[in-house]
Assembly symmetry: C2
Homo-oligomer: 372 residues x 2
Amino acid sequence: MLKITATPRIRRSPFHDAVVAAGVTDATVYNKMLMPTSYGDLEAEYRRLLEGVAMWDVSCQRQVQISGPHADDLVQYVTARDLSSMKVGQGKYVAMCDHEGVLLNDPILMKLSGGRYWFSIADSDVLLWCRAVAFERDFEVSITEPDVSPLAVQGPLAVDLIADLFGDHVRALKYFWFVETELDSIPLTLCRSGWSKQGGFELFLQDGSRGVELWDTVAAAGERYGVGPGAPNHIERVESGLLAWGGDNTPGSNPFECGLGRFVDVDCEADYIGKSALQKVAAEGPERLLVGLILEDAADSIADAWPLEQRTAVRVGECQVGTLSAVVESPRLGRTIGIAQIAREVVEAGATVIVESPQGARAAEITELPFI
Amino acid sequence: MLKITATPRIRRSPFHDAVVAAGVTDATVYNKMLMPTSYGDLEAEYRRLLEGVAMWDVSCQRQVQISGPHADDLVQYVTARDLSSMKVGQGKYVAMCDHEGVLLNDPILMKLSGGRYWFSIADSDVLLWCRAVAFERDFEVSITEPDVSPLAVQGPLAVDLIADLFGDHVRALKYFWFVETELDSIPLTLCRSGWSKQGGFELFLQDGSRGVELWDTVAAAGERYGVGPGAPNHIERVESGLLAWGGDNTPGSNPFECGLGRFVDVDCEADYIGKSALQKVAAEGPERLLVGLILEDAADSIADAWPLEQRTAVRVGECQVGTLSAVVESPRLGRTIGIAQIAREVVEAGATVIVESPQGARAAEITELPFI
């Protein structure tokens, strides 16, 4: 187990002191920011997410704000999805690709009032990408990272907790839609979203100096629901088939190879970066597919491999046909399951594949995502 | 102390198994890659670097390779330095800036044979930046991250160790110059470079499958010199005034505000991104300067603050005039010293400033970098 070296290069979350007080034990670095990953009891964190409500410091999910006269044009140009009917207050899960159709990021795009947008990003420098494109094409826009840090409230009881804090109108909020609001005069944007399939909200804190206050307010209101700290949950996300950007997608993957094909509009009227490359992939079919694997039962558990430290080879016979990027023991399925990117012909043939686990070779059956 | 969560999103170094065997205890994430930061005895690591020779896994210093018919043009266009006289086999420390002159990265640029270049980068997505610029301007280039991972050999005895391995010709290699070579048929590029002022080399391993073999070969050859593991050394780099990208430079800083003004050629004949903005800064003078601070002696040590976890306010009276990004007890100076970015007028006035240390306010004297 390696300890993380503290350095000003890796930014601290506005919720930092609160998550330390809550007993954070493990973390990662995401968008050059410290992200809590566990409070020392992964089973409890999983149960809380599935049955109750959990609070996650996901401030590392940074916002890239695009504003200015050409904001609409730039945002469409860097997004592989038709945005022509997008409304203020609406969010959309989108793929950003390079000129060859390679997936660069899978943010939630939020259309704010006042001609502003936020890309709520995964772990790559979207800000650099957008600035280079905007300057080189003379888009008149301002591209910044505002002081905005999401706090996720996730789980079946999240809606009750959030309704207690903000009012019953939040129950009617559609998925990925949001309202700009405040809580005890703390400015924030409340979005029905979050990186789980258990339902919930993200509170986009807009004043970094008030992170601990927001955390404590939510924690106090959640006491009656048994709220507790948590983090993006590895087991749940594998069961739910949520893409972990940078882990599941191998370098060079296009969105069709990452399970995001349904979010790509190749017939969109507007032009966007990568469109012709993606049209070609859509016509010919992707080379690889993101799939689930169900590993054969065995006396030995591979739970020690959790979380998988590196992508692991998946093969048919001696031939490598893909990579496994996550493997967990699923409490709900009672099976060992994983997420893999596998050659399309192997998936279509329904072949049984072999996973090179740290405990030796293990047969696995290919299945569609999500598992649940 | 937080433990780092292992995940395929954070890439493992080709030297990983060797550094684990060598007893690595602490790490950080740099360019989405695990970088060792300590082997548990920082004092010994410092002494080894100052008096002997140390081996550092700095594979996180990734290469962005630019090749193709327009490689010369693109590389110059993204670099704020005159490259017209650059030779094959030469490296240069360069500033990459955005269109407003903001420092994006401070890589070593290496001109390889065959019309290829490597930017050996600090912790930001230069690859995304270069791809966006190249595609939008129709440069005919290929931009990739090749399988190249540097192993640094640093310290006064490094040259003897490297000469034993590669021959006495390496003694004549000038700083930042390099040769493409091999060691026991392991392909690599040997450069006289490294992020210390103690002298040394970087071995750019070009076959990731042979990392442990290279590490072990160097370790065996270094035994007679007392070689041992280490990492970019925080104390030495503060004494030597080396910029820690992402830590010392606050967001929005231009190179003149990061101590890199002498590497910016504002009168360069070729155009490059940010040139006019940088010309303006050169003419008017930067708003801030990167300086050293010598903290007043005090009974209490602030060594506990090592390493500084966040940038800390520096003030004159009640007015914040800058930020401190590193503070160490210097064994060579016998003083507590730091690196800070301070408003130019304060620096020019030679004012005494106040540092808000975790142990309370402490007066500090401004001085030029490097300290030694």
